[in-house]
C-alpha cells in the first residue's frame, strides 16, 4: 500500500525537475555565459561596479528587519496575553491588509508622503512647518519625505510587518504555560521569566520572521521604485533593469540574482544552525 502511494508523487517530482531545478540551472548557465554564448566570468567582474547597490540593499533591508522585529515582537507578545476573542480579531486585522495588493498599499503611501501630500497638508494645518521654519530659520513650504531612504524603509516595514508578527505570535501562543508557572514558582520575576523562558522558546518564530521579512525586503524593486523615486537603486531594481529595462543584459541580471541567492541562502543556513543550537539547548 505504502509503496503504491509513493507513486502519486512522481508527476510532481517531474514537475519540480522541470520548473524548479531546470530554471535555476538555466540561471547559473546564463550567469557564466557571455552574450554570444561562450563561457565567461565577466558578469561577476562587472558586478564590482554595483557594490554600492549591494551595500545599500542589505543596509536598508537590515534596518527594516530590525524595526519589524522591535515592533512585531512586543505586538505578538501582548496579543498572546489577551482573551481569545481579542486574539481572533487581532489576527484577522493583521492578515487583512495582505489581501490588498501591496502595490496599492505602497501607492497609498506615495499620496501620504508627497510634497503636497496628506501628511504635509496636515503639518501645514497644525503649523508644524511654520514652527520649524521659525526655529531653524529655514524656508520650507513642505518636508521632503518622498524619494528618500527613509521612505523606502517605511514601505518595507509597512509591507512586511505582518510576516514578522505572524510566526512569532504562532510560536508564543503554543508555549507551554506550565513552564512559565514553574519558573514563577521557582522565584523568577516577570522580567526573568521573559528573558530566561519566553524569549529563548520563541526564538524559532523570531528566526522565521526575520527570514520572511529580510528576503523580500532585500530583493524588492517595486517599493524602492515607488517610494525611492528611482534615486535609491536596490538589488531588485538592478536585476529588473537587466531584464525589462533599458539596460538589457540578462546574463548580468542572472549573475546578480545568483549572487543574491547565494548570500541569502548562506545567511539563512548560518541563522538556522544558530537557531537549532538554541532549540536543542532548550530541550536539554
Amino acid at each position: 500500500m505504502k509503496n503504491k502511494l509513493s507513486r502519486l508523487a512522481v508527476p510532481y517530482v517531474v514537475w519540480m525537475a522541470l520548473f524548479v531545478v531546470a530554471p535555476i540551472i538555466m540561471m547559473v548557465i546564463y550567469a557564466f555565459s557571455a552574450s554570444n554564448g561562450g563561457f565567461t566570468l565577466n558578469n561577476f567582474v562587472k558586478m564590482g561596479a554595483y557594490a554600492e547597490v549591494f551595500i545599500r540593499s542589505f543596509k536598508l533591508a537590515l534596518i527594516a528587519t530590525a524595526i519589524c522585529l522591535l515592533v512585531g515582537y512586543p505586538v505578538s507578545y501582548f496579543m498572546s496575553k489577551e482573551g481569545p476573542r481579542f486574539q481572533r480579531m487581532a489576527m484577522v486585522l493583521i492578515m487583512l491588509p495582505m489581501w490588498m495588493n501591496f502595490l496599492l498599499r505602497t501607492y497609498s503611501w506615495m499620496t501620504i508622503l508627497e510634497n503636497n501630500g496628506l501628511l504635509n497638508q496636515l503639518f501645514q494645518k497644525i503649523g508644524l512647518i511654520a514652527l520649524y521654519n521659525r526655529m531653524t530659520g529655514a524656508d520650507l513650504s513642505y518636508f521632503p519625505m518622498m524619494n528618500t531612504q527613509g521612505a523606502v524603509v517605511l514601505g518595507m516595514v509597512y509591507n512586511y510587518l505582518p510576516f514578522m508578527i505572524l510566526p512569532i505570535y504562532s510560536v508564543i501562543i503554543k508555549l507551554d504555560g506550565s513552564l512559565i508557572e514553574a519558573a514563577r514558582d521557582l522565584g523568577a520575576g516577570s522580567a526573568t521569566v521573559f528573558r530566561r523562558v519566553i524569549l529563548p522558546l520563541s526564538l524559532p518564530g523570531v528566526l522565521s520572521g526575520i527570514t520572511m521579512v529580510f528576503v523580500p525586503a532585500v530583493s524588492t524593486f517595486a517599493i524602492s521604485q515607488m517610494l525611492g523615486g528611482g534615486t535609491e537603486l536596490l538589488l531588485g531594481d538592478l536585476i529588473e533593469q537587466q531584464f525589462m529595462g533599458g539596460a538589457y543584459n540578462p546574463q548580468l541580471g542572472a549573475a546578480i540574482s545568483l549572487v543574491m541567492m547565494v548570500i541569502v541562502v548562506v545567511c539563512m543556513l548560518v541563522m538556522n544552525r544558530f537557531g537549532e543550537g538554541e532549540e536543542q539547548a532548550v530541550m536539554l
Partner: protein, 290 residues
C-alpha cells in the same frame, strides 16, 4: 500597575493597527473623491466606480488575475495533495531530499524565482523553435507553431509552481498526524486502496487541503514579482496593471477596484469567522450537555 500596563500594551497594538490601516482607509476614501487627485478632496462621488466598469484594461486584468488564481489554486491543490501523499509514503531519505527541493521556491526571493523561470521559458522557446522548424521542414502532416511567447500559459505554470509547495506544507503535517493503522484497517475491512484513499485518507486530511488551497489562492492574488517576469506582454494581472500605472498616473479607478476587492474579502472573512464562532459555540454547548 497591572491596569496601566495593559493600557500601554493595547495602545501599542492600536498604533500598529492604525499604521497598517491608515493607508488603506485613505485609499478607500479617495475612491469616492469627485476630483481626480488622490490627496485633495473635492467632494463625494461614485463616478470612478462607473468609469471602472467601462475600463477595458482594468476589467481585463481583474479577469486574468481571477482566472489565473482559480486555475492555479485548483491544479496546485490537487497536485500538491497527491504529491504530499506520495512524499508521506516514501522512504525517509528520499523524502527529505525531495522536501528540500520543494522548499526552494518558498525560500528563494520572488525575483530569483521569476527571473529563473523567465530564462528557462525563453531558452525552451528557442529550443522549441528550432525543433518545430526542423520537424515542419521534413514532413507536412503536423505543422507545429515555431514561435512561442510568454503569456497566459507561462503565467499559469509559474503560479502553479509557486503554489504547490504551500499546499504540500499544509497537507503534510495532517498526514503525519493521521493514525497509520487507519489505512490498513480499511483495507482489512475490504476496501480497495482507491476506496481507502477516498473514504479514509481524504476526510482525515481535508482541513489541511482547505487551508493549503486558501494559502495558494492568497499567494496567487497577491503575487506581482513572479507574474511580472513570466507573463510577457500579452497577459497582464491586476498587480501588473497597477505597477504600469504607478509609473505615470494612477487613476482613482484603481482605488475603486481595490475598494471593491477589499470589501469582498472583508465580507468573506466575516462570514468565515461568524461560522467558526458559531461552530465553536455549538461544540461548547455539546460538551456541557454531555
Amino acid at each position: 500597575m497591572k491596569k496601566s500596563n495593559r493600557f500601554g500594551n493595547r495602545l501599542l497594538m492600536a498604533l500598529v493597527f492604525l499604521f497598517l490601516y491608515a493607508p488603506i482607509l485613505i485609499l478607500i476614501i479617495f475612491s469616492f473623491n469627485a476630483g481626480n487627485s488622490s490627496s485633495v478632496w473635492k467632494g463625494f462621488s461614485l463616478a470612478w466606480y462607473g468609469k471602472l466598469f467601462h475600463n477595458r484594461l482594468i476589467m481585463q486584468s481583474v479577469y486574468t488575475t481571477l482566472i489565473v488564481s482559480f486555475l492555479a489554486t485548483a491544479i496546485a491543490t490537487v497536485a500538491g495533495t497527491f504529491a504530499a501523499i506520495g512524499f508521506y509514503a516514501m522512504r525517509r531519505k528520499l523524502r527529505d531530499s525531495l522536501v528540500t527541493v520543494n522548499n526552494i521556491p518558498m525560500m528563494n526571493a520572488d525575483i530569483v524565482t521569476g527571473v529563473s523561470l523567465c530564462l528557462f521559458f525563453v531558452a525552451f522557446f528557442n529550443g522549441w523553435g528550432s525543433f518545430a522548424g526542423w520537424l515542419n521542414s521534413i514532413q507536412s502532416v503536423i505543422v507545429l507553431p515555431t514561435r512561442l511567447t510568454l503569456g497566459f500559459g507561462t503565467l499559469l505554470i509559474a503560479h502553479i509552481s509557486f503554489n504547490i509547495p504551500y499546499v504540500i506544507l499544509s497537507v503534510g503535517p495532517k498526514l503525519r498526524q493521521m493514525d497509520k493503522n487507519l489505512i490498513d484497517a480499511a483495507q482489512d475491512l475490504g476496501c480497495t486502496w482507491m476506496q481507502a484513499f477516498w473514504k479514509v485518507v481524504l476526510p482525515e486530511i481535508k482541513p489541511g487541503i482547505v487551508s493549503g488551497a486558501l494559502t495558494a489562492f492568497t499567494m496567487s492574488i497577491d503575487d506581482f514579482v513572479i507574474s511580472y517576469f513570466t507573463a510577457g506582454s500579452s497577459a497582464s494581472t491586476l498587480a501588473m496593471t497597477i505597477y504600469g500605472m504607478t509609473k505615470k498616473r494612477v487613476s482613482p479607478q484603481i482605488n475603486a477596484v481595490s475598494t471593491l476587492l477589499f470589501a469582498a474579502v472583508l465580507l468573506l472573512l466575516v462570514i468565515i469567522n461568524v461560522r467558526e464562532a458559531r461552530q465553536e459555540k455549538r461544540a461548547a454547548e455539546n460538551r456541557i450537555n454531555l
